[in-house]
Subunit: 203 residues, 2 copies
DNA sequence: GGACCATAATGGTCTGACCAATCTGGAGCA
DNA sequence: TGCTCCAGATTGGTCAGACCATTATGGTCC
């Protein structure tokens, strides 16, 4: 259980549950803290994190507001950063990275029939690639946007054909990383993201 | 004066001043708070921000440590994200964005002889491009790495020829953005970053 | 109907305390 | 001498309550 994200994620869950729309005002800090059962100081550290991610915006005397977020913009960023992550992973991966990648890929194959579990395995595979990149900025930036990607992953995981396609695409990425072929890894990741992007546009 | 970054930047300044090396332990929170003249709660919100950026890492009972950071990795991320920012800026820029860009470019020309001022103007120009992109994720990610870029900018700004070159390169970017030509803007930004990268490698 | 102001609401900060995990150094023993 | 083990100190994590600064609200007065 990651302690750092705990409050931030609880707040995100609460917002989703109450259907707070972008631009809406959040409940006051004092009330949020009480509802989540934490002190206001701890809540504020969580809110600070969300504010740094651009998810919320606080205005003294007025309130805290949910910022608008364009999933298309988010995907464009992914489209630029994940191929880099794949390239670096191919150049720097260690034995432990390869093992993690193999595990994640095997799990994707194993839970192909379950959209929910498949989505989680997919997340782990992408996380393993980012981790293998060995780049601190890449890891940090992905951590920042990771929890914003839940929607798009849900879209992908919900379609049977997409899941099957994703497995072979991810397999190609993993293979290129294992071979240490940066160009191929980057290309394979672009290919994968192109398919994901197409399905997102259709949805 | 941006209140949000205040503590985080003060801490960064202090670390630079005391030559805290990556992996070193920072002074205890209570001492840092006293030295910066803020309460421990405010200090912690600042530290939380640095921790989210991957700059520091806290271990309960042990201390807070400065994480290692590879400037080369950072530049690779920049190399991927800034061209995207330039492209989006060309597609979405408003009149206000164009005015800011023109101002920043004019200022770069005006302070060409002063490395310090030039560096600041350069930062403003890049910030204006990011702002004009209109993409929340892009803005957020750049805010996250902005203060990590000081070193590389110092390198660029310290060389007379590089400054002159940077002006014409940035001018080309601004022109492409004004024309609404995303392809040209992205290419011009790549060109600019290639020059910056070459100077970094040399240094 | 509109301008103005007292009041409430809300985020920003501070102080001081206690808890939990970790580190450190000395006591005791083999 | 060298090792183990444990108690205390150190340090980050959290909490509670208070006050300040800014903004929103609603009523009053013209």
């Amino acid at each position: 259980m990651p302690p750092r994200n705990h409050v931030a994620e609880s707040v995100r869950a609460l917002l989703a549950e109450e259907q707070v729309a972008p631009g809406d005002r959040l409940p006051p800090e004092r009330e949020l803290a009480a509802r989540l059962g934490v002190s206001r100081s701890s809540l504020r550290e969580g809110l600070r994190r969300l504010a740094d991610l651009g998810i919320i915006e606080s205005r003294q005397g007025s309130g805290t507001y949910l910022a608008p977020l364009d999933l298309g913009d988010l995907f464009e960023v992914r489209l630029r950063l994940e191929p880099l992550a794949a390239r670096l992973a191919a150049q720097r991966r260690g034995e432990e990275d390869l093992a993690r990648l193999a595990d994640a890929l095997a799990e994707m194959r194993g839970v192909l029939g379950d959209p929910q579990l498949f989505g989680e395995a997919d997340v782990r595979a992408h996380a393993a690639i980012v981790e293998a990149s060995g780049s601190l900025p890449v890891r940090v930036l992905f951590a920042a946007i990771a929890d914003l990607l839940r929607h798009s992953r849900a879209t992908t995981a919900g379609n049977d054909d997409l899941r099957a396609g994703a497995v072979s695409e991810v397999a190609a990425i993993v293979e290129a990383i294992r071979d240490g072929d940066g160009d191929a890894a980057e290309a394979a990741m672009r290919d994968h993201l192109a398919h994901v992007g197409a399905s997102l546009s259709a949805a």
